[in-house]
Amino acid sequence: MTAGSPNSSADSSIAEPIVTLSGVTKRFPGVVANDDIDMAIRPGEVHVLLGENGAGKSTLIGLLSGLIAPDEGTIAIDGRATQIASPRHALALGIGTVFQHTMLVPTLTVAENLLLGEPWWRRPRKESLQRRIEDLSKSLGIEIDLDALAADLSLGEQQQVEILRALSRNSRVLILDESTSMLTPEGIEELGDLMRQLVKRGLAVVFITHKLKEAAAFGDRISVLKLGRKVGEISPDRFRSLDHDQLIAEFVEMMFGKRSGDPEDVVRSPHPELRDRQPLLSVSGLTLAPARGNPGLNDIAFDVRPGEILGIAGIDGNGQTQLARVLAGQQRADGGDIRFDGKPVTDWPVHARRDAGLRYLTDDRLGEGTVGSFPVSINLLLKQIGDPPFWRNGIEQTAAIDAHARDLIRQYDVRTPSEHTPIGRLSGGNIQKALLARELAEGAKAVIFNKPTYGLDLANTLATRSRIGDVAQSGKAVLLISTDLDELLALSDRIAVLSAGRIVGTVDNEPGARNAVGRLMGGLAA
């Protein structure tokens, strides 16, 4: 991503704030989510809220967008203390929020989505909307087909529609909640440009992220949250005086209390001896017909050796999930061979592949990885239902199941009130730990990780990565599918780039790999 030059106009730092928070505190049972927070949101600034998961960012957005009310302290709009009573009230006050997960109605067109929320007795005025949106989008340099179905838009486009929706209601403050977490690198860059356009027009943008680099690239003013408290702020003047590396160092200092390099910057030491081993998982000529929303697979071939981490790079939606599903046996390929541990497993069902030691850690933790309403203990055995010793003659052995669960919970440090807690109540990081426990449990020989750190906070991200490193260290083969290039460079021995369902190149992870992979991802030869 290019560092958008923090070019707030000279008077912005003295502009009157639109929203001022003073001494705002919000408590939930057992936690102080926001603790005595002071903050001013001014026009013409991208105000970055930086913090890990659980730092209190979401609560703060909830307060600003009228979803929850503070227990103590005041929120002043234009200098006047105001109770933001509801999301509708927040909109009326000029505070628009774009939430992390898109709130568009997928079966309606873009225009219809934009017209939602108008008074019910009025006929939707599509023509005037058309003009307004065209003006807006032209001046911002984005192109949106108003007649396209919301479901057919990419995530980045959906986000642009939501931003347009907020703007078309004359928002003065635009809150972007973790908006980059679902975007491709290009999408992130586009969003950065868009934010610059918006602040140039005198809007105040609040940009929430836990990614240090995005904060450094897009911000004017940075507020760092940690465990509900605001632990630091960098003013635009100071922001401009620091270069990228100094900024990162400062963020890390504020967020983690110790000065170090970007903790995500780890370099994988090469393992040349891997070359001589026999491949554990080898795939050849794997094809899958394209389907709605994915390009299918086209003649995929690769080998993974014991102890090796093969990274699969590529922008989201280029066939990664299909590849993982076909390898795990959830989906049948149209052609090609999969050999695992010397045996052809192409026609094996999921259960047989798992028993043989081929494991798949899904990226969709709640959607397919777990049954949210089932207890942790059952979710840990979800892929072994009916297997002894947990079931005997088909009858559940509660003691064995609970003991197994307690064992894994301790081993993998899953923070849960008990093994009987429904897994859906745990945080994302703890659900991921439970899934790691399930897939790495006895007998794993090769593990497919699909975006293993997606949506996790830094602490859990680093813990998961070191777990993946350990898995390879212990002689298992690892296929690491990720959209995060830093992650791939930190862990992989080799990186294959997937584009439109085809492997367009494979690069050894040595100095220069970043450029080579980047070129491949950008459609150039390495």
Binding site: D364, E368, G372, L382, G386, E396
Partner: protein
């Protein structure tokens, strides 16, 4: 906070028990409360149509529960309802809305009624009963095959298909009684009658059919199947999250067909137990519509087999008592339905209020 949580997990005994009790009390309050409120609302309706509600309820209770003949009729009628509830619990827990139990019930009943009198001529009565039960279950399963396959392999909404198949099934049962299985010795269109001595034995010196015991066994077996076995867990996984079921390597289409077979089979058994236990034959146009009555009870019981026994008893009391009250007080038989529907609506409202407002204050 997380360390507290961890410590709590080391020592799970003392607190949760009290919590469990209070949760149970809460649940009972949330179930019994709406029923009382509904009785009051339904009572107001009775006042409106000019009937003394106290008298009506007292009469229903007397005829359905407290008089010796009433309680015996009530318990006898529970048998088919328990089988239906069992079939519905299997399906609903697996996330499959088999609303076609009435058609499956009736086809099971008709085939049992047609086969049993013929069978007793060749084999002992108990064996005839067993064979008739099996035939009824198989016919009902076969009837559910079309919705099952459509759902399993093409994702066609089973609510629509099973409801449609019920209309066809009821008509087919009628046609079978009038054409194929007609008893030539009677003038009214009905099947051959199974002699009273060849029906299911009665319990002790009462008129209660032993079908009640079969029904209880069926629903408890289903409850254990769904909560304690690997097969039940697989079905619940499919119901709770089909994507997770595929991810876990379960054969979702096959399990779906199995659920339909179990559910419809139990509905067919419900028909058989009513015929071989009580009715002895099927008259043309006979359709008690138990299925649609039992569905709300299964929801009230939250798919719990033991709770369902209690609610089926309640339904049975209301319907037996309501039939007598209809004759005596002139309140239409359908008033039972009005009462049950009121209970459901009040329950839904209470549930909403509880999750929306009360949980907040307790949290």
């Amino acid at each position: 906070m997380s360390t507290d949580a961890l410590q709590a997990s080391d020592n799970p005994e003392p607190r949760p028990r009290a919590e469990l009790l209070s949760a149970l009390g809460h649940r009972i309050l949330l179930t019994v409360g709406p029923i009382l409120v509904s009785l009051i609302i339904a009572g107001l309706i009775l006042v409106f149509v000019g009937v003394d509600p106290i008298k009506y309820y007292a009469y229903v209770l007397d005829r359905g529960l407290f008089s010796p003949s009433g309680i015996q009729q009530t318990l006898t009628r529970m048998a088919p309802m328990l089988f239906l509830a069992a079939g519905l619990i299997v399906a609903f827990r697996a996330g499959i809305w088999n609303l076609g139990v009435d058609g499956q019930f009736l086809l099971g009943a008709v085939t049992a009624a047609a086969s049993a009198p013929l069978l007793v001529a060749v084999v002992p009565a108990w064996l005839a009963a067993v064979i008739a039960f099996v035939i009824a279950a198989c016919v009902a399963m076969a009837w559910s095959l079309v919705p099952a396959l459509l759902k399993a392999y093409h994702g066609v909404n089973e609510i629509i298909t099973t409801l449609m198949m019920t209309f066809l099934g009821i008509s087919l049962a009628n046609v079978l009684v009038k054409l194929a299985f007609l008893d030539p010795n009677t003038t009214v269109p009905q099947t051959r009658t199974l002699p009273v001595e060849d029906r299911l034995p009665r319990l002790f010196d009462t008129t209660i059919s032993s079908g009640l015991l079969l029904g209880l066994v069926a629903i408890i077996a289903v409850h254990i199947l769904m909560t304690r076995t690997a097969f039940g867990l697989k079905l619940r996984t499919v119901g709770a999250n089909p994507h997770a079921a595929i991810h876990a390597g379960l054969n979702v289409p096959r399990l779906t067909v199995a659920v339909f077979a179990l559910s419809a089979g139990l509905a067919g058994l419900a028909g058989a137990v009513d015929i071989i236990g009580v009715q002895g034959n099927v008259r043309a146009d006979w359709n008690p519509g138990y299925g649609l009555l039992v569905i709300p009870m299964v929801f009230l019981a939250r798919f719990n087999g033991f709770a369902a026994i209690g609610f089926v008893l309640l339904l049975s009391v209301l319907s037996i008592g309501g039939e007598s009250a209809a004759r005596r007080l002139g309140v239409p038989n359908h008033f039972t339905l009005v009462l049950i529907a009121t209970v459901l609506i009040v329950l839904a409202i209470v549930e909403y209020v509880d999750s929306r407002f009360l949980k907040k204050t307790r949290a």
